[in-house]
């Protein structure tokens, strides 16, 4: 059998798999129980959140530990605008949430993205904590008591809204990051900022644009999630563990991979649900996630998706971890480009 025949068969299997996924996704509420619709909605939500983190973490190479801030901003935007005194329609709140989050990302990113490695991670974590504290003490956000939204008891509605938003986000990111010159700019900056600048790429602008893109998605998802769960408070939508989950899902699925984060999100969300059902708490799940992350970083640095294809980014995880380590223990080097890239913290 020729190589071409194998390739053709692989393509056929891929197309058939995708078609099956579309049919199952589109008809799910018609043939399953509300429990599974809720699970599928959760999978879609986390697949979208993981994607958003992958934009800044995997494609741009900036490890953000504050991504939950954008999810929270989106949640609160929708929740506030849907309060009786404003009475905005749900769908009108989503673009507002996206705009507020992207403006916030641009404003915070302008200074923060001049930092690199661990410094950027710490800065974004502090940023998210600041947003959480502000939300806790502000009256218009309901303080620590949170906000209640109007109830819409249609699980199919939230499933479809979440699914369509996430699918569109994946398609948008795929074309922007894998098929356009913007994607090449982002990846060039990730791999070697000094070399990217030498190609004429405005690295600062590219990083901010990537950060804005990665902020818009969780903001919209946060808005949908707020309406879905009908009650939010700082602990539910601005909890650091939400960012941690995004990071883990991307690492497990495939850092910097177009659809790997969706796989990581689906796998970990389903495992979490199973642990909750079986043991009634997430404690054992958290311990298991720690083990999974260690195994993936050691043996599958490209994530689980690398099992299905050629290994393409074996260096990426190590490069990002190495960059973070270098911030604290700089290695002596004469390499102009790498030295300059690491000097980002002082730029």
């Amino acid at each position: 059998m020729t190589v071409t025949t194998f390739a053709s068969r692989a393509n056929t299997i891929r197309v058939a798999g995708l078609a099956a996924l579309i049919v199952v996704g589109a008809t799910l509420p018609l043939w399953t129980t509300p429990y599974w619709i809720r699970i599928a909605t959760g999978v879609a939500l986390w697949a979208g959140l993981a994607l958003s983190w992958n934009v800044i973490g995997g494609y741009a190479g900036y490890i953000s530990f504050g991504h939950v801030a954008f999810f929270g901003i989106g949640s609160y935007t929708t929740a506030i605008l849907m309060q009786p005194q404003y009475h905005w329609p749900f769908f009108a709140t989503l673009p507002v949430a996206a705009v507020i989050a992207t403006v916030f990302a641009a404003t915070a990113g302008w200074p923060a993205l001049r930092l690199t490695g661990a410094y950027f991670a710490i800065a974004t974590w502090a940023l998210a904590e600041a947003v959480r504290e502000l939300t806790t003490v502000s009256d218009f956000t309901g303080g620590s008591g949170g906000l209640t939204l109007p109830v819409k008891s249609s699980s199919s509605f939230f499933y479809y809204v979440m699914l369509i938003t996430v699918v569109l986000s994946y398609i948008l990111c795929y074309f922007l990051l894998e098929r356009s010159r913007f994607g090449y700019r982002v990846k060039a900056v990730r791999d070697n900022e000094a070399a990217a600048r030498a190609q004429g790429i405005d690295a600062t602008r590219v990083k901010i644009e990537a950060f804005m893109l990665s902020a818009a998605i969780p903001a919209v998802l946060g808005g949908i999630n707020a309406y879905w769960i009908t009650f939010i408070n700082p602990n539910s939508v601005l909890n650091t563990i939400i960012t941690d989950q995004m990071v883990v899902m991307v690492l497990v699925g495939g850092l910097g991979h177009a659809w790997g984060p969706a796989f990581g999100a689906a796998a970990l969300y389903l495992i979490n649900e199973q642990f909750l059902t079986s043991f009634g708490s997430s404690t054992s799940y958290i311990a298991m996630v720690g083990i999974i992350v260690m195994l993936v970083v050691l043996f599958l640095p490209d994530g689980v998706v690398s099992l299905w294809g050629r290994t393409r980014r074996t260096r990426l995880v190590r490069q990002l971890l190495g960059r973070a380590a270098d911030e604290f223990h700089p290695r002596r080097t004469t390499d102009d480009a790498s030295t300059t890239a690491r000097k980002g913290a002082s730029r």
């Binding site: 090449y184 070697n192 600048r197 190609q199 405005d202 004469t334 390499d335 480009a337």
Partner: protein, 238 residues
């Protein structure tokens, strides 16, 4: 012939050490100028000052008549200046082919795929086009950097030891590419330790030592200059 690059009293210190100390020179269009000097003489720092990687403490850099002394790297690159680095600075998680595409993001993006195939053939990299750039040998990495330069269609090119570690046959390929670009009026500034190569291709040489220019002229002129001999071999024993 008009000067495309004019450098006046350029200086930069790191800590108390003057890496580049009042350097002045100019380069004409389509000229190939070699920069030689012992390790630590300031050659690569000079390139970093010209390309905006480092900011000068004093002095001026005029590129095509425009003052680019305080401009950021990407604006200098967009003005038509392309460079390679002392140690290859590649996009290591991208394939060789995509490294070449990435070099065209500010230029002819739609023509990049076909141009990349020509460059891959020219530099003998077609067989490794799908390999990750980070997995290439040292010589191939230098070729890929040269390939990125070719993709940018630059007006002036700064090459930092571009032939170091490259197979002699491929070195001839690089020299051929340089000559072809020069025929299209591209200007070159080349840092190179291989004097045979610089003799072969450079119209003029600049010799640096301790951050200063100690000699300037043709290859024959500088190889007979006592200051150059001293910089390379040390003070003659009495």
């Amino acid at each position: 012939m008009s000067s495309v690059l004019e450098v006046k009293e350029l200086a930069r210190s790191f800590g108390g050490i003057s890496a580049v100390d009042g350097v002045t020179f100019s380069v004409d269009q389509a000229e190939i100028v070699g920069i030689i000097g012992p390790n630590g003489s300031g050659k690569s720092t000079l390139f970093n000052l010209l390309t905006g990687v480092h900011k000068a403490d004093r002095g001026h850099v005029m590129l095509f008549g425009q003052d680019v002394t305080r401009k950021p790297s990407h604006k200098i690159a967009r003005a038509g200046l392309s460079r390679t680095f002392q140690l290859p600075a590649l996009f290591v998680n991208m394939s060789v082919r995509h490294n070449l595409w990435a070099a065209a993001v500010q230029g002819d993006w739609h023509g990049a795929p076909s141009m990349a195939e020509d460059v891959l053939e020219l530099l003998d990299l077609a067989d490794v086009a799908e390999a990750l750039a980070g997995s290439l040998s040292g010589g191939q990495q230098r070729l890929l950097e040269m390939g990125r330069v070719l993709m940018q269609a630059p007006r002036i090119v700064l090459l930092d030891e571009v032939a170091a570690g490259v197979h002699p046959r491929l070195r001839q390929t690089i020299l051929k590419a340089i000559r072809e670009l020069r025929a299209k009026d591209t200007t070159f500034l080349i840092i190179e330790h291989d004097l045979e190569l610089t003799q072969d291709i450079c119209d003029r040489m600049i010799v640096m030592d301790a951050g200063k220019i100690v000699a300037e002229g043709t290859f024959d002129e500088i190889t007979h200059d006592p200051q150059v001999m001293e910089a390379y071999l040390g003070v003659p024993v009495e």
